[in-house]
Assembly symmetry: C2
Homo-oligomer: 201 residues x 2
């Protein structure tokens, strides 16, 4: 699609890779806590390149959120969707949550949206709508999987898919908070079987 030959010096960095580095930087330091110097260093580019490619800091932040929402694999949701047995799928979801929030490759803890972006919901324009979209989209994905299980006879026909999807989403925020607070993964994991049980019964 975008293979039209362009005149001029070619970019020396990959836009998506650099944007991912921005996500990781914001994730650890927060929007206001991450300086442009922090960002350019982590992204491996100079500020003029950053401004030309992504706009100012606020625009970069919005794009980082959109990148996270659209391109980053959410391993807990993936685990939930890919496990055929619904009982095991719910458990796999919570199991994956613990790993996701406490053992992220870049060392950042918790969840980018609920441990970092959330703070500037009231101060950075455009953040709130994105958060709301992230919430509702996640819930839809979960509810869809429940409906599939209902059709497959794995769940009773009156199983309230949407409500249990919201329950699963809300339960998820607990481990996220605990991990960000520095509580060890082991202590968080102890409850996940119980949480899965609460969702299914």
């Amino acid at each position: 699609m975008n293979d039209t030959k362009k005149v001029g010096r070619p970019k020396t960095f990959d836009e998506h890779t650099a944007l991912q580095a921005a996500v990781d930087t914001f994730w650890v330091k927060g929007y206001d806590g991450a300086s442009m110097k922090d960002l350019t260093s982590a992204m491996g580019i100079n500020s003029p390149s950053l401004y030309a490619t992504y706009g100012d800091k606020e625009t970069l932040f919005i794009k980082a959120i959109e990148h996270y929402m659209g391109n980053v694999d959410c391993s807990p949701l993936d685990a939930f969707e890919n496990e055929p047995d619904i009982q095991k799928a719910v458990y796999a979801f919570f199991e994956a949550i613990v790993t996701y929030v406490s053992e992220h490759e870049k060392g950042s803890l918790g969840c980018f949206l609920s441990s970092c972006v959330v703070t500037c919901a009231e101060t950075v324009e455009g953040v709130k709508p994105l958060l709301q979209t992230a919430i509702t989209e996640s819930e839809k994905r979960i509810a869809k999987r429940f409906d599939q299980a209902k059709n497959a006879g794995q769940l009773p026909k009156n199983f309230p898919s949407k409500q249990r999807a919201r329950l699963m989403f809300d339960l998820r925020q607990g481990p996220v908070f605990r991990a960000r607070a520095g509580l060890p993964a082991k202590s968080i994991r102890q409850d996940m079987a119980c949480w899965a049980h609460a969702v299914l019964n």
Copy 2:
């Protein structure tokens, strides 16, 4: 206790009131997003008074957290502890949560600890231990109330108080996140009866 007469010009502000204003400012703007000018304006004092009374910004932030943990009434926990019937108490807890996270008097949304402080857990020294204490203390208060209900015969003798306390705490983080994202209180409230049911059964 501290009624020893002191020489010198008397303070023109109340330490606790000003500290509460600092909490509210941090709550809305975050640690890095709140400037010293924001803080002094909200607290109604000049920077030299602030530094003399509370120390630098980081120390003020820690003291604000401690003030919030120790002096601010947590209406959801209060509602939970004061309602004699345990079933109603759990429901009252979640009911109070919705009001607390979406209708705070100063306009700040969510929870100070899980919507604001959490972001700088990795960057501001001393924050993580405080968050961990807040989590475990909350769980202890909830578990204690469950034990009382068990002794009063309102709950079965094998009711897992500590685990359900953690469940209640984790469930709480969902509404906190939703409210901070700007979702209306009405949409959050719809699930609270179900969440209470999940805790009790």
